[in-house]
């Protein structure tokens, strides 16, 4: 239960941190979406209920912070979470290369989805952003993902008395 109590403030802090502080490192040109890595991490290493709730909340906070249509990031993150969970059931999801590749694909897919969403719903052409925004973002995220996976492992371990991966997946 403590997990759900801690979830809201911690996720909120994470989203605020990534939206403000991390943007500074890349001069606001590339958004470092740690929240996406967290969702993938949840898909790989957390049980379904916890991970899904986490993804939903992170997505919702992202919607609020990004100023996008409510539900857009929520939907994306929930989808990414379940895809990650499915992938982790089929392949050995511990390898660095897999984590990086999967993160890259998820980030790029997310970008594509957002572009398509705005094109379909609002008829806004954002395709050039795929090259100049989402591709670099996907590259940066894929490079950073193993590091953040380690960090999340450590954090999760501290919450679970030093055991980073309790076997909870059903």
């Amino acid at each position: 239960m403590i997990y759900y109590f801690l979830l809201l403030p911690l996720v909120l802090l994470l989203v605020v941190f990534q939206k403000s502080v991390l943007d500074l490192f890349f001069f606001g040109r590339i958004g470092v979406e740690i929240s996406l890595i967290l969702v993938i991490y949840a898909g790989f290493r957390m049980d379904t209920i916890r991970g899904a709730v986490l993804s939903f909340i992170v997505g919702f906070f992202m919607d609020c912070m990004m100023g996008s249509v409510s539900g857009l990031y929520t939907l994306l993150y929930v989808c990414i979470f379940f895809v990650s969970a499915l992938v982790s059931l089929k392949v050995y999801a511990e390898g660095v290369i897999l984590i990086m590749t999967f993160t890259f694909l998820c980030a790029l897919s997310q970008g594509l989805f957002i572009v398509l969403f705005y094109k379909i719903i609002y008829d806004v052409n954002m395709f050039r952003n795929i090259i100049w925004v989402f591709l670099p973002q996907a590259l940066v995220l894929s490079i950073l993902s193993p590091v953040f996976f380690k960090m999340f492992d450590v954090f999760k371990g501290s919450l679970n008395d030093g055991n980073p991966r309790p076997a909870k997946r059903s």
Partner: protein
Amino acid sequence: MMFPKKYQSIAVASLLILMALVMISYNIKLFSHTGFLRKLVLEATTPLVSLKNKSLKVLQENWNHYIFLIGLEEENKRLRKENALLSNQRVQYQENYLEAVRLQRILELKEQLDVTAVAAEVIDRDQSSVIKTLLIKKGTSQGLRVGLPVLADRGIAGRITECSWHVSRVMLITDENSNVDALIQGNRAHGILQGSGSEGCHLKYITKTEEVKVGDTVISSGIGGIFPKGIVLGIVKSVDKMDGGLFQKIGVSPSVNFDKLEEVLVLVFNSGEGK
């Protein structure tokens, strides 16, 4: 649980995706409307964001200040250097100006006297209590010899007592061995100006009948064959007639400030030339 465990994931996924789709639909329809939860999140994040912004602002200000200080330090160094350079230049210009003024006066004196004169730089002073001399950077190779009168811009300085090839020693009129035949300009009373060391000079052999006042100018008489006539020696600073002798006791302040003397003029007379 209302679902079997094996369908739990699918149920959760479906539920959450459905919720997200509802949210999207609702939001697209009422785009201008900000939902309650969204408002709540925005309100909750505002202090964090403002705190972050303040911290960043402080950091940025400190950084800018630091950068500014670095720039300032560089500028300070440059300005100090420039200031030192300009100060040196100013001092140099001032020195040159003062030297020019002094030389101008000496030149005027030289023109007045209409004799051959050699300007010389003072290179040393011996102003101890007993001996009052100067060393000048001219000697026999420039035509100087012992006995020649030495003038400063304001009057007589002394005479040469030693002379080498390039350096000469000048005995000042304040030296106790110095005696110069003198006149009081106002009443033409005649006496001998003798050096008194640190007290300056005193004028001897002026009888009590002569009217001498403080402030009278004492000039050279031209008698004695060393100093030309009419060159200022000093100013009467004290007159004492109360002494029991025949003569007055007259204190004279030399017109030349020997402590600040930097250039002098040596009058070169040919042997036997009249002055």
